[in-house]
């Protein structure tokens, strides 16, 4: 049985919190609910971005997802380094 949208969202946030690397591929979220269609997982991930709970990280050719608290923007990182 597929999870409800809210359960799936919770599982995805948990995954993004606990994963060793902060940035995750969309496919890494598939295992949060193996019964869900990839397209639904993608839509839920994008909803979480809209809600501000996840953030896109893009190399320009690939896009990944991360918890805002776990990825630092290049610019905030620079600022942090300068204030050191």
């Amino acid at each position: 049985m597929a999870l409800s949208i809210d359960e799936l969202k919770a599982a995805m946030i948990e995954k993004a919190t606990k994963a060793p690397k902060p940035q995750l591929y969309i496919k890494d979220f598939y295992e949060c609910d193996p019964d869900a269609k990839p397209r639904n997982v993608k839509n839920v991930a994008n909803d979480l971005v809209k809600e501000g709970k996840l953030m896109f990280w893009s190399s320009g050719s690939t896009t990944m997802y991360a918890l805002p608290s776990r990825i630092k923007n290049e610019e905030t990182r620079e600022a942090a380094e300068e204030s050191k």
């Binding site: 050719s61 990825i71 290049e74």
Partner: protein, 426 residues
């Protein structure tokens, strides 16, 4: 921002050809950060390594594509390019726009960016090079509200679809590539603006096999116009070419005297499938052997035209070399009707079948062409519910093994191994 010494780059201004170095210097007159582009590129030439870092979380609200974060890895030396993000703007179908629209976009970019552009990028988009994070939202607001232009795709999104100018100007167009491109751009807005896939996915539309947008080399889903019946021949016009009354190739080779037009040498002998011949004054074509290469039609456009029963061939899986080598798209759907009346349902159905499969089976950062290569074309054709035909075979067999699946063999593969061993000792 000071000028830097750029002896290596200055070499590139010496030829008779246009030079990007000269262009950037000219732009630096109004946008001094451009001196830092030159300074950083000079350093890269010296160090033989790029000093651009790419990637990051920059973007505009609600969009997961269209802005590509670019940063200098030597920002203290070149503060003008510390942030130098790229903005992709969706180009209109067939790249038709007014000079007024281009001026407005350039003015907007002079206001919010470096003024440097790349028209157009390989994806097809108009590419605006170099701005800072705080400028992104105001730029996006004016772009969408005042200029009615949208961002294009980047990252793991559907990339900005691109098409040839097709029926708007070209007599060879076998379907309306602009209409299909425009329709699918609207239909898949979500996939263009937000990531959806294991990796990038590109559509390109050429309305005939001349393939002016190089769809077969550059797109995961290449829709290339073709015809199913016979090449239409006007024998009187064939004669006019033979008699030298009509210049071949629409007069494109008239700059030099190539001698008298020779239909045997220039057309018949160059037909890749050898399916043309003359019977007296009459040109004959064995159409079932024709591969639609367009050569004869390109040489004698007044005499030969694509057939009247038109549609498209869909090829899947081209890519540039990143993980594996470069590859062309593989012919998958030999003939598809391109029909605006049904909202292109035959095309949409195939796109979604590919996406559903690839989103499931494709690995991270694997283009669909690599997925097909990994599982093999027979598996892909089965998933696409396409009957294999000889045209799906790329080369003669070099592999002596033939595999049958269970359901292809009468009685299946079930057998009693003990029964078998009685007759066949181990």
């Amino acid at each position: 921002m000071p000028k830097h010494d750029t002896p290596l780059l200055d070499e590139l201004e010496k030829g008779p050809w246009p030079s990007f170095v000269t262009d950037i210097k000219r732009q630096a007159a109004t946008k001094p950060e451009c001196w830092d582009i030159l300074g950083q590129v000079e350093l890269s030439y010296k160090d033989r390594i790029t000093h651009w870092k790419h990637g990051g979380i920059v973007g505009v609200f609600g969009y997961g594509g269209g802005i590509v974060g670019r940063y200098s890895d030597v920002p203290k030396q070149f503060p003008g390019v510390a942030h130098f993000h790229t903005v992709r703007i969706a180009q209109p179908s067939g790249m038709y726009y007014s000079a007024a629209k281009l001026r407005a976009i350039c003015d907007l970019w002079q206001k919010y960016g470096s003024g440097m552009t790349n028209m157009h990028g390989s994806t097809g988009d108009m590419v605006l090079l170099g701005t800072t994070t705080p400028n992104l939202e105001p730029l996006f607001y004016e772009l969408t509200h005042d200029l009615n232009q949208d961002l294009g795709g980047s990252g793991s999104n559907l990339r900005t679809p691109a098409c040839c100018l097709g029926k708007s100007r070209c007599e060879w167009a076998c379907y309306d590539s602009q209409a299909l491109c425009h329709f699918l751009t609207n239909h898949y807005q979500d996939e263009i603006h937000r990531p959806a896939f294991p990796y990038k996915f590109k559509f390109k539309f050429s309305a005939c096999p001349n393939d002016c947008v190089a769809a077969i080399a550059r797109s995961d889903f290449a829709v290339i116009g073709t015809w199913r019946d016979d090449i239409r021949i006007n024998q009187a016009e064939v004669k006019a070419y033979i008699d030298g009354k009509t210049p071949s190739n629409g007069g494109a080779h008239s700059g030099r005297d190539w001698g008298k037009f020779d239909i045997k040498k220039e057309v018949i002998d160059l037909c890749p499938t050898g399916c043309m011949w003359m019977e007296g004054d009459t040109l004959k074509i064995d159409n079932k052997e024709c591969t639609r290469c367009m050569h004869c039609i390109n040489v004698m456009p007044r005499a030969l035209r694509p057939g009247a029963e038109q549609g498209a061939t869909i090829c899947v899986g081209a890519k540039a070399p990143i993980l594996d080598g470069a590859q062309f798209a593989t012919m998958t759907f030999p003939f598809v009707k391109i029909d605006a009346e049904t909202e292109f349902e035959e095309v949409v159905e195939k796109i979604e079948k590919i996406w559903d499969w690839w989103m499931e089976v494709g690995k991270n950062r694997e283009r669909v062409g690599e997925t097909i290569q990994r599982v093999g074309l027979p598996t892909f054709l089965k998933v696409m519910e396409v009957e294999p035909i000889p045209q799906h075979v790329r080369e003669p067999r070099s592999n002596p093994y033939v595999f049958w699946s269970d359901e292809e063999v009468e009685g299946g593969f079930e057998r009693d191994i003990r029964e078998f061993r009685k007759r066949h000792a181990q």
